[in-house]
């Protein structure tokens, strides 16, 4: 097991370097003026050149890349062009906000997805299975920013039950675990949970159906085990897959919630990326993408290791 973890860790190093290179290229090779957000359109040529050399944009790409990588490995992702604050601070604050939302949404998705998936897999082709299938198809196919807006209209604009947008009450600095803050999370979390619910329930249904079709289920019944015990066996067989899918969904939600975070003005990485893209804030964009990628890769690593721990069938040698 130790050897497996070490090999898996070593494997992430080239992945991280590759990701760093790809996001560097994406950001630098795309057209547009990197200084558009800080320089007025009528700035003098001298000022412009001074700014360009200050940010190092005049150096060869290779030098720029290795400089950036060298600094990044020490936790220095440069400064945001738009705000002048260190990128790492901006990204970490946003990442924590996103993570909080993503974890809640994934947990919701896991609970409902597993519930629907198990029931649908156990009672295949019953009405309850068909209902669960319809719900999960709805979940993965409905545009979730649209769903977010609908929820805002119903629960915020019409019923006044919950706040429409924002990451906390005005005037509050930082997150607190109280109702005043939590109520801001509810609508975005529900909106975000719809996709993981759909995907997890499809996966769990398939795994449960596949497990139930295996011969050992007859074997268990032939040992006189009751339905509850058989169910326990099915859960233990299906759990590694369900948890792996859940982990990946958490990763997607961390970076993939740009639209939802924008709809709800949730101060997370999605909103940050959105801002960075529109302001062509290259250090911020590059830094946030890299941090998100880092997060995704580590999450994958955790999922793999966790799965290997849970599932004795996975070769660990």
């Amino acid at each position: 097991m130790g050897g497996y973890v070490v090999r898996r860790l070593l494997l992430t190093i080239p992945i991280m370097l590759g990701v760093a290179l790809v996001c560097f290229m994406l950001v630098h090779l795309s057209p547009g003026d990197p200084l558009v957000s800080v320089l007025p359109p009528d700035a003098s040529q001298a000022l412009r050149e001074q700014m360009i050399s200050l940010y190092g944009f005049d150096q060869p790409y290779v030098v720029q890349f290795f400089k950036w990588l060298f600094n990044a490995l020490q936790g220095n992702l440069g400064t945001s062009i738009a705000t002048g604050r260190p990128v790492i601070d901006e990204v970490l604050v946003a990442a924590v906000n996103s993570l909080r939302l993503a974890v809640l949404a994934t947990l919701l998705g896991f609970c409902f997805g597993s519930l629907f998936g198990f029931v649908a897999g156990y009672f295949q082709n019953s009405w309850i299975d068909k209902l669960a299938s319809m719900l999960s198809i709805f979940g993965v196919s409905v545009p979730h920013y649209w769903l977010g807006m609908v929820l805002v209209i119903i629960f915020a604009s019409q019923l006044y039950w919950l706040p429409a947008t924002g990451g906390g009450p005005t005037g509050s600095d930082g997150w607190q675990w109280d109702w005043d803050h939590l109520q801001y999370m509810i609508l975005p979390a529900i909106t975000l949970s719809v996709i993981p619910t759909g995907i997890i329930s499809r996966t769990v249904r398939a795994v449960v159906a596949e497990t139930l079709a295996q011969e050992f289920i007859v074997g268990l019944r032939a040992r006189g085990l009751g339905e509850a015990a058989v169910f326990r066996h099915v859960v233990k067989n299906a759990a590694p897959t369900a948890l792996a899918v859940m982990g990946l969904q958490l990763g997607y939600l961390m970076g993939g919630s740009i639209l939802v975070e924008t709809v709800f003005s949730w101060p997370g990485t999605g909103l940050l990326l959105n801002t960075a893209i529109f302001q062509r804030d290259m250090p911020l964009l590059q830094g946030s993408i890299w941090v998100l990628a880092l997060f995704f890769v580590s999450l994958n690593l955790c999922v793999d290791i966790f799965q290997a721990l849970l599932d004795p069938r996975i070769e660990r040698s």
Partner: protein, 345 residues
Amino acid sequence: MSDLQPAAMVETRGLKVRFEQAGKRIEAVNGVDLSVSRGEALALIGESGSGKSVTLRALMRLHPERSTRIEGQIEIEGRELMAMSRGELSRLRGGEVAMIFQEPLLALDPVYTVGQQIVEGLRRHRGLSRSEARARALEALKSVRIPSPESRLDAYPHEMSGGMRQRAMIALALSCHPKLLLADEPTTALDATVQIQILILLRELRRELGLALIFVTHDIAAAAEVADRVAVMYGGRIVEMAPVRELLRAPRHPYTIALLASRPDGGLAKGKRLETIPGSPPDLAALPPGCAFAPRCRHAMAICSSQLPPSERIDSEHLVACHWAMGRSDADPYTQPRQEERMDR
């Protein structure tokens, strides 16, 4: 069934099993009468698809209830199986009647260790504490002569060899001390040498424990190793039943005769099937009104395709279901060319 004459370990009368599948009705078992007394071993042999496994699973009511129709009577020690409640059934399964399967890798839960699975059964049926159950599980593994049983307790099924797994499966089945063991081709998936070891183990355990056994196989040599009596199945019916020696010495049904003739000398190699009888097994969704073997039978007569041959006694222990074997001979001229055509192939 009086008290003076104790009930058989298991007895079926007119057992029929039908599956409803995609609008088709598959008649897998079509009137099986068999009886196994305490401590006796019966082998069920026949080609693949002849209904051996379906018969065996019916004896524990293991078929999916929604898509299966079971008719006739099944009695386990005089108790009607089809009338049992869920609770009675689950006490019976594993506690009084146990089953072992052809491929233990598929029949054991892959994410539980062998020890956990034995312990689970012992706790269910014998109400033991976890540590008592573990001690008993170890005993069970020892009793099937598994090398280093302590370490096998914590091994997962996929970490063992095929023969070892089958031993573990047998240990699991026998851990709760059942009175009847149903074995569904337990040696078919194994190498020849391991096959023999498992057969010897089963024979020894049966003697030690006074276990009744129904042993399904398509290998008549394996049947001869462990069984007292043999029942030959074809198209979901028992076409001949006799003590092993009698059957090997004087088979009467044309199918049994062909089966014995097709037997390779020196035992069966791994995975080898008895497919040397020309023609194919009957379509269980469209069985003929007469003898199901008629299209492949060299002695078929007109009466064979119109009248089902009843099961008849040749002597006190030898039953056969065949018009020809019973000496009926109303050969019809125009069934002959059809048969010769078949034999030419």
